[in-house]
Subunit: 334 residues, 2 copies
Amino acid sequence: MVTIKDVAQLAGVSHTTVSLALRNSPSITADTKAKVLAAAKKLNYHPNHLARSLVSGKTYVIGVVANFFSSTFEMEILKGIEQSIRSMETEYTINLFGTLEKNDQVLTDICLGKHADGVILLSISPSKEIIKLYSDNNCPMIVIDEKAEGAIEIVMDNYHGAYMATEHLINSGRKNLALVIGDSNREELGLSQKERKEGFLQAIKDHDLSFNPRNIFYIEDYYFEEGQVVFKRMQRYGSDIDGIFCAAGDIVAAGIILEAKTEHVNIPRELSIVGYDDVMSSSLIDPPLTSIRQPLFQIGKNAYARMVRLLEGNEEYKPNKFVYEPQLITRSSV
Amino acid sequence: MVTIKDVAQLAGVSHTTVSLALRNSPSITADTKAKVLAAAKKLNYHPNHLARSLVSGKTYVIGVVANFFSSTFEMEILKGIEQSIRSMETEYTINLFGTLEKNDQVLTDICLGKHADGVILLSISPSKEIIKLYSDNNCPMIVIDEKAEGAIEIVMDNYHGAYMATEHLINSGRKNLALVIGDSNREELGLSQKERKEGFLQAIKDHDLSFNPRNIFYIEDYYFEEGQVVFKRMQRYGSDIDGIFCAAGDIVAAGIILEAKTEHVNIPRELSIVGYDDVMSSSLIDPPLTSIRQPLFQIGKNAYARMVRLLEGNEEYKPNKFVYEPQLITRSSV
DNA sequence: CTGAAAGCGCTTACAG
DNA sequence: CTGAAAGCGCTTACAG
């Protein structure tokens, strides 16, 4: 392993000078710099970032933390983040942390263990203590899709999205709606699922329709296959469903559609469905799925760019909240 | 920031003892250990991983490096990796490195700069020098979907997959085939695209068909929209195409199909198409897309598990090559 | 303009 | 069984 000392020796200067020269300090002669650079190149020297980080206190890594990264939601945001990285040419690196439900524990370790300079949370709600911890340690925290008072919150208006979706179903003449919703394995619904449920119920109420609570169906992991299972459950236990709002997203909705087709239920004649997320597949499904578009890519992109500004000191870190508006994309499934 | 010294002070021992106690050294009394642990907990002590890594020489991070992470290919593998992480409960962390074409530079820095203990490359072909560098530094390297003599290579038999796809088109009566292939922005085709091209051409040859080189269409970024563009180009410049092998993958194939539908070209009556990858959307497209399935998820999962074994010393690192076989999934697009 | 010294927070022989 | 010392590779005041 070639260190700064080896470079110093070859260049005939002290290791202090090497360090200064490499960081392009103004107090070093152009001459000496050249010598040092030549020596570094010759030895193929690369600074040990662990040592550098230890003393500087900056790791140059941005932590992206989520319960898991397997769903389209996280992947879309990740793509946005990547796009940002490409266009910014920064020296930050992205570190993925899956919390496996142990949110606070993982978050504490990231901050106190110096794993990252800042974090972007995806659909994770940090506790008050964690938010304080990050704030005390000057570690910026951007929270996407969850509430986090005291941090930077980036949320989508899920209530409104769900309201639009439901109203669209109602306006097309549907009267017996069903709700498909996720997070059945959590203690309580995540923020976005909760808001979608509220928006759904409110729209029904506002239109003077009745709603049978039996028509709520839960899924856990947002898998395609869960949609297929849900459709079967609907046929068995649901009551006269003629419209579905799949708050659990388009992938699950796709599963429902496929199973409906298998069972020869015509969409949208006998059954209408609206999804959520408007992922790429949504327009390819047959019939093309009406959905609520969320600017996930854009959100990821902006979150990363903002984090970099925060870390570079180009923006002051102060808690605030930004709400993105969703958009109804009508296709043929209603 | 609370350090080992603070814990030592509170526990009334030396910081050496704290370090030993925390790492559960057998030479420390249960009594002292308890005292130390209590103090650490009280102070909410978390070891600084930078310091720890600096002296131990282990970073506990696994680098995943790719040109970019935006395509389904990388995402599928990433999902597999994540699945592995969940089931293994290790303390390794995943660091994403996008090389933006500067492969060797990034790879050198990861190794020499101590950014990771081992790397998994996705569709990146490291130079001989890089392979030697990693080997000299005892930094395991697993290369997926590219050749890398001297490292661990995990590849899919793309030649065979392409051959099967093409033969399937031919057997269904298609005579004027087109090839859609990626990487037009690279100096030369990536390994998998190259092999697919060869398999395609060989199948045509073996079946005594002629092939018009005008019927090769290039794309760059594996985007859906490129598929739409390609179809337009085909209509303008292609000659009598009745079958397409889309070596560029299912997402691009989906774009082609959508555009064909827009232009009222019936699939598969007037035009057949076979994709590659068999991503989830493939079965949802209308018509469902015949494709070549690659076990990407499994590959990612195994690669990670193997990397951990390598790093834990449970498997000896020696260059070898593993080939996964693809599988033809027939649906209705042919 | 350059170098000797101290220090970042930890681990690991080595004494005792 | 525990502690003083040296050291990991770097940066950053501080002298000169």
